[in-house]
């Protein structure tokens, strides 16, 4: 009887194909809960594909199919019949480009709770305020909640998107290069925010920025050509990796 591993996202022999392209090969990994895990590797190495496997966003791509298992705690999310809507409520996602809806700041954050059935106005207000505070953007937007989200700067929009994801109280937060389109100050704010969030949320972040991975994460996985080459504590990956290819990548010899 195969079961999950308590307190971790447990991935076993996970494979993804896009049509004939084998994008991810036999990935097995244990991602600990309530911590930050970074995924690094050159473009096209499969790290984003892997990330999008954890909330089944790959399902949206008609040609994509996968084998293997992903367990979140004691729940097999790759089992046939898994309710992906229910899953995505628990596994939030922040995208590379800030993608707020063309709605007000308030309505952006309230969107998730609303689709999950919260209609009470004061309850929604409380959720919106709480989420914006957790995303460290409340002080900047509390007086303009009814303005369009598009009037915010890129960095603010990205924190708004984090608040929007937090509003449905996910256990896991997937971040796909969340700061790559932002300036250094905004990047710093997002990293500080991640440190706060990891107290109760499991964060998996894909990044191209090696310094960022070293700064924010406790664990790091290095992907190359669809394979997980090495997974270890970040201090090990960035100072004394076991695999030559990891060493070449983190020291900037290729990629």
């Amino acid at each position: 009887m195969v079961t999950g591993v308590p307190n971790s996202i447990s991935v076993r022999d996970f494979n993804v194909w896009y049509g004939d392209l084998h994008a991810l090969t036999n990935v097995s990994i244990e991602i600990p809960f309530r911590d930050i895990t970074a995924l690094i590797g050159p473009s096209g190495c499969g790290k984003s594909t892997f990330l999008r496997g954890i909330n089944r966003m790959n399902d949206l791509i008609p040609s994509a199919r996968s084998t293997g298992e992903i367990w979140i705690g004691d729940r097999n999310i790759t089992a046939p019949g898994t309710d992906v809507v229910e899953l995505r409520k628990d596994v939030g996602m922040v995208f590379q480009r800030p993608n707020p809806f063309p709605k007000s700041i308030f309505d952006n954050v309230a969107y998730g709770p609303r689709v999950h059935g919260t209609t009470d106005r004061s309850r929604l207000s409380a959720i919106v305020e709480g989420s914006l505070k957790r995303a460290a953007i409340w002080d900047e937007v509390k007086d303009v909640l009814h303005k369009s989200a598009f009037e915010l700067s890129g960095g603010q929009q990205q924190r708004l998107c984090i608040a929007r994801a937090l509003a449905v109280e996910p256990q896991v937060m997937l971040m796909d290069e969340p700061a790559s389109a932002l300036d250094p100050i905004s990047t710093l704010k997002i990293e500080e925010l991640m440190h706060e969030l990891k107290k109760d949320i499991t964060i998996v972040i894909v990044t191209h920025n090696m310094q960022q991975a070293a700064r924010v994460s406790s664990f790091t996985g290095f992907f190359l050509s669809g394979e997980l080459i090495e997974f270890d504590e970040s201090s090990v990956i960035f100072t004394r990796p076991h695999d030559k290819r990891t060493e070449d990548y983190v020291t900037g010899r290729f990629g």
Binding site: N55, M57, L60, P62, V85, E86, L87, R88, K89, D90, G92, M93, F95, R97, N99, P100, F101, P102, Y111, G112, V115, H116, S148, F150, C161, R164, A165, V168
Partner: protein, 278 residues
């Protein structure tokens, strides 16, 4: 260089050939039709064997038919477009549907009229009525609305759909709350253009609704109605010695209604385009 100039002249001339007829028609209609327009003309029924009086019943009929067409064509057209844009998987069945829609757009309008006569007037026993006419015109309008709506839906950035789905929204919630609201301007534009074209059609209403002459305004959707395009046809071919003044006036009113709707469509489009910023 010389060749360049020839081609430039050719392109310019072609453009002028396109614009000239439009200007000519509008000029003629305004110069000859405007003197016919009066309060009486717009608010009275025809009198004296249509040789005097106004065209009120035809205006009202056309307005009713326009509304009826929109009521039937909008929901069906938008839902079909949502299906094609958001739900349909690429394959033979979807290709077949698209082919059908393209062909629907190419069917001559008199065929729609006969189809409406057979289906709505006779088989469904709606008789010659506003209901039958609106349904017939709605089918004629559907390809325009479906095509415009589908374009509007696919112009909504994929990132909005992903953001919504990643929050645990269902596909339908995503469509209804994020995709449709952001496509609304394109859909409305398509609706107005499609219905505007339907308002000017004669053949589809010929057998399904249009009355030669009615003194009273229609009171229900089961009544026949007069309509501007058919009235114009009647005045030009069926009424001996009808004063040209009335014909020009009728044509001008029809043109104002159709052009007016096109202008509204254009302004809706620019207004929304300015409002969105992605």
């Amino acid at each position: 260089m010389v060749k360049q100039r020839y081609i430039f002249a050719l392109l310019g001339a072609s453009t002028i050939f396109v614009v000239l007829p439009v200007i000519g028609v509008i000029y003629l209609l305004i110069s000859r039709g405007l003197p016919a327009l009066s309060w009486t003309f717009l608010t009275q029924p025809p009198t004296h064997m249509m040789k005097e009086g106004g065209i009120l019943p035809a205006i009202v009929g056309t307005v009713y038919l326009t509304i009826g067409t929109a009521v039937f064509a909008l929901p069906i057209g938008v839902l079909a477009a949502v299906y094609l844009s958001e739900y349909a998987k690429p394959g033979r069945f979807t290709r077949l549907i698209r082919l059908a829609i393209v062909n629907l757009a190419g069917v001559p309008s008199v065929v729609y009229g006969l189809f409406g006569l057979g289906l709505f007037v006779m088989l469904f026993r709606f008789g010659a009525s506003i209901l039958s006419g609106s349904l017939t015109l709605a089918i004629l309008t559907l390809p325009v609305i479906i095509t415009a709506s589908e374009e509007a839906l696919s112009a909504v950035p994929q990132s909005f759909r992903e953001a919504s789905l990643a929050l645990g929204a269902t596909k339908w919630q995503t469509t209804a709350r994020v995709v449709l609201p952001n496509a609304i301007s394109g859909i409305i534009t398509g609706l107005i253009l499609g219905v505007g074209r339907a308002a000017g059609e004669t053949a589809p209403i010929l057998f399904t609704v249009a009355a030669f002459y009615l003194r009273d305004l229609p009171r229900s959707i089961y009544d026949q109605a007069m309509a501007l395009p058919y009235h114009l046809y009647v005045l030009s071919t069926q009424v001996p010695n009808a004063p040209p003044r009335i014909q020009w006036g009728t044509a001008l009113v029809l043109l104002i209604i159709v052009l007016g709707m096109n202008l509204i469509a254009a302004s809706v489009r620019t207004r929304f385009r300015r409002a969105k910023k992605w």
